[in-house]
């Protein structure tokens, strides 16, 4: 069976959930082989095994992580040339897309980014993308070379199946030219204790209407076990870090439930949330454009509605 390469996205060896989703997708297309780049793969191999990786290629090189993008693209190129895979799957985040971009140029291969679903047509990946602020769905195929596909979080539910996860160490050569953008400092994001924004089943976001007080938003989110998001107006005002921004220039989320409080619903915000399954808005202006998209809306002051709703939710959960 053809191998499908999955680049492992990890933080110091801890595999991130979207990678497990990629393994599940890879199994539709062929035999999943994970590619781990970094130091100490042991913890990763354990989780990759649980989600069906048959092989794990390990590029044991801590130095690579201190440069942006280019060395990883070189490593993947060498692996593709060695294994002739049926496709390469990479997580759709800034670095993942850029690795895919350079790999496509190196291999003369077609690239598809931001797939929200990947199915197999006789082993050929067929992707679904959501474009123009979520207003269109596009299905596409790569027609030249090795399909290089970046996949958004939540494109599949990771299935636990036991893989062989046979470890194979690979030596790659990284050119000096690839080591020209150096990461001289890295500050890991502090864990909020809440679910990851792009992975959460429920997201509660606040906008300018919070007036800078995110407490009602955070408490409502916590009552539902949700992630917290923000509009750009809230981020630009310095109320929330940029990592929480939902929208065109922030994160795209597609949860089961999205609650927007004090957010008007500009096209750039909608671009990041309009494929959510269920949408709720709380806004004191009944003319707010976001109300056009909602399954349920409350016209009212979020500072009154959210705390009361938090209480109501907590009571019901008993």
């Amino acid at each position: 069976m053809t191998e499908i390469l999955v680049l492992v996205d990890h933080v110091d060896g801890a595999v991130r959930k979207p990678t497990l989703e990629l393994l599940t997708i890879a199994r539709r297309l062929g035999e999943p082989s994970a590619v781990f780049i970094g130091a100490d793969a042991s913890q990763a191999i354990e989780s990759l095994k649980k989600y069906g990786a048959e092989k794990v290629y390990v590029v044991d090189d801590a130095d690579m992580a201190t440069y942006l993008v280019a060395p990883k693209a070189e490593a993947l190129q060498q692996l593709v040339e060695k294994t002739s895979p049926g496709a390469v799957l990479i997580s759709s985040n800034a670095e993942g897309k850029e690795i895919a971009a350079r790999l496509a140029v190196k291999l003369d291969s077609g690239i598809i980014t931001d797939a929200v679903d990947v199915q197999s047509d006789g082993g050929t990946p067929v992707t679904t993308q959501s474009v123009f602020a979520g207003n269109f769905t596009v299905t596409a195929k790569v027609t030249q070379g090795t399909p290089i596909i970046t996949v958004k979080p939540n494109a599949a539910t990771p299935e636990a199946v036991d893989g062989a996860a046979t470890e194979e160490k690979v030596e790659v050569s990284v050119s000096d030219g690839a080591k020209t953008a150096k990461i001289i400092k890295s500050e890991p994001r502090k864990a909020s204790g809440r679910p990851e924004l792009t992975e959460a089943a429920i997201v509660v976001s606040g906008g300018r209407g919070t007036g800078g007080n995110f407490e009602p938003v955070e408490q409502f989110a916590d009552s539902l076990g949700a992630a917290v998001g923000a509009s750009r107006a809230a981020v630009d005002s310095g109320w929330m870090p940029h990592a929480f921004q939902v929208g065109q220039t922030g994160k795209t989320v597609s949860p089961q439930l999205y609650v927007a409080a004090g957010i008007s619903g500009a096209i750039q915000h909608r671009a990041g949330m309009q494929t959510s399954k269920t949408i709720i808005a709380v806004n004191k202006d009944e003319e707010a454009p976001l109300f056009e998209l909602v399954d349920f809306g409350v016209v009212g002051d979020l500072h009154a509605v959210l705390p009361a709703a938090t209480e109501g939710v907590t009571e019901r959960k008993g």
């Binding site: 933080v11 942006l68 280019a70 985040n93 800034a94 897309k97 850029e98 895919a100 971009a101 496509a104 140029v105 003369d108 077609g110 690239i111 959501s130 474009v131 123009f132 207003n135 769905t137 596009v138 299905t139 596409a140 195929k141 790569v142 027609t143 030219g177 020209t180 953008a181 150096k182 001289i184 890295s186 500050e187 994001r189 429920i202 539902l224 220039t249 750039q268 309009q274 269920t278 709720i280 709380v282 009944e286 109300f291 056009e292 998209l293 399954d295 349920f296 809306g297 409350v298 016209v299 009212g300 002051d301 009154a304 509605v305 959210l306 009361a308 209480e311 109501g312 939710v313 019901r316």
Partner: protein
């Protein structure tokens, strides 16, 4: 120093964006403009020149796009860029990011002696965020991308990159490719003086043969991915809207959540 800012002409996001019957983006029937996210790159180029008083810096806006794309270059000239280069050729229509980056790379080489290639973080239509990395790969230059703050001293640039899991400081040396996000700060509006001055600024138009790019390498037929289908999402129908009075809103909200089994 020579700076090239890559600017894209895109359909207006607030208009009804459409696909053509061959599944390419309709770039003619919908009003277009300079991609908002590229304005931030233009702004950072202009600020760099202002900060480096005394250094000779020439800024060129480069665009690959249809006839009307001169509008995008014009806007960059009005903001303060010195000259424009428009690569326009019927064969380019329908190009994918690989072909676009090839044409951009050849144009940068033809402009010559370029120290800094600047890009936006993504085009507002395709939104792939891949062209800057492809350009760096093709030009063999360092890629310092997704900068949300830029600092430089001489040839060394340091930027902040807000990643998924960490905030990084990335350092690179000229010549390089730099892409910037909308966190770098609002772009200026063209002044009246800028608008007048732009009329006299040079704007060159190059074809593929000027760049020595084979027409077979670009366009829809050379695209290495094929769209099988495009489908408009069914419009969302508006659900129930209640007006809060003395806590009734919160109660209705909780009932709704329970009815949908969220609690």
């Amino acid at each position: 120093m020579n700076i090239v800012v890559c600017v894209k002409y895109v359909p207006d996001a607030t208009a009804e964006r459409q696909f053509e019957s061959d599944h390419t983006v309709d770039r003619v029937g919908v009003d277009g403009l300079l991609s908002e996210l590229d304005e931030y790159a233009v702004e950072q180029a202009l600020q760099l020149r202002e900060k480096r008083d005394g250094e000779e810096i020439e800024i060129t806006a480069l665009c690959v796009g249809p006839e009307q794309a001169t509008d995008a270059i014009r806007k960059a000239l009005q903001m303060g860029v010195d000259k424009g280069v428009h690569v326009v050729d019927d064969a380019i229509a329908g190009s994918d990011s690989l072909a676009t980056s090839l044409v951009l790379a050849k144009a940068v080489e033809k402009i010559g002696d370029v120290d800094l290639v600047m890009c936006g973080m993504a085009s507002t239509d395709a939104s792939m965020s891949v062209v800057p990395a492809m350009l760096a790969e093709r030009l063999g230059l360092p890629q310092v991308t997704f900068a949300s703050a830029v600092e430089s001293q001489g040839e060394v640039f340091r930027v902040r990159r807000d990643g998924d899991t960490a905030t990084e400081i990335v350092e690179g040396r000229l010549p390089m490719v730099l892409s910037v996000t909308d966190q770098t700060g609002e772009a200026r509006y063209p002044s009246f003086k800028g608008i007048m001055a732009a009329k006299k600024k040079p704007l060159e138009s190059w074809s593929l043969s000027d760049l020595g790019v084979d027409a077979e390498k670009v366009g829809l037929s050379a695209a290495w991915s094929a769209v099988e289908d495009t489908e408009a999402r069914p419009p969302r129908s508006q659900g129930e809207i209640v007006t809060d009075e003395d806590g009734s809103g919160a109660k209705a909200l909780v009932d709704f959540l329970a009815s949908k089994k969220f609690i």
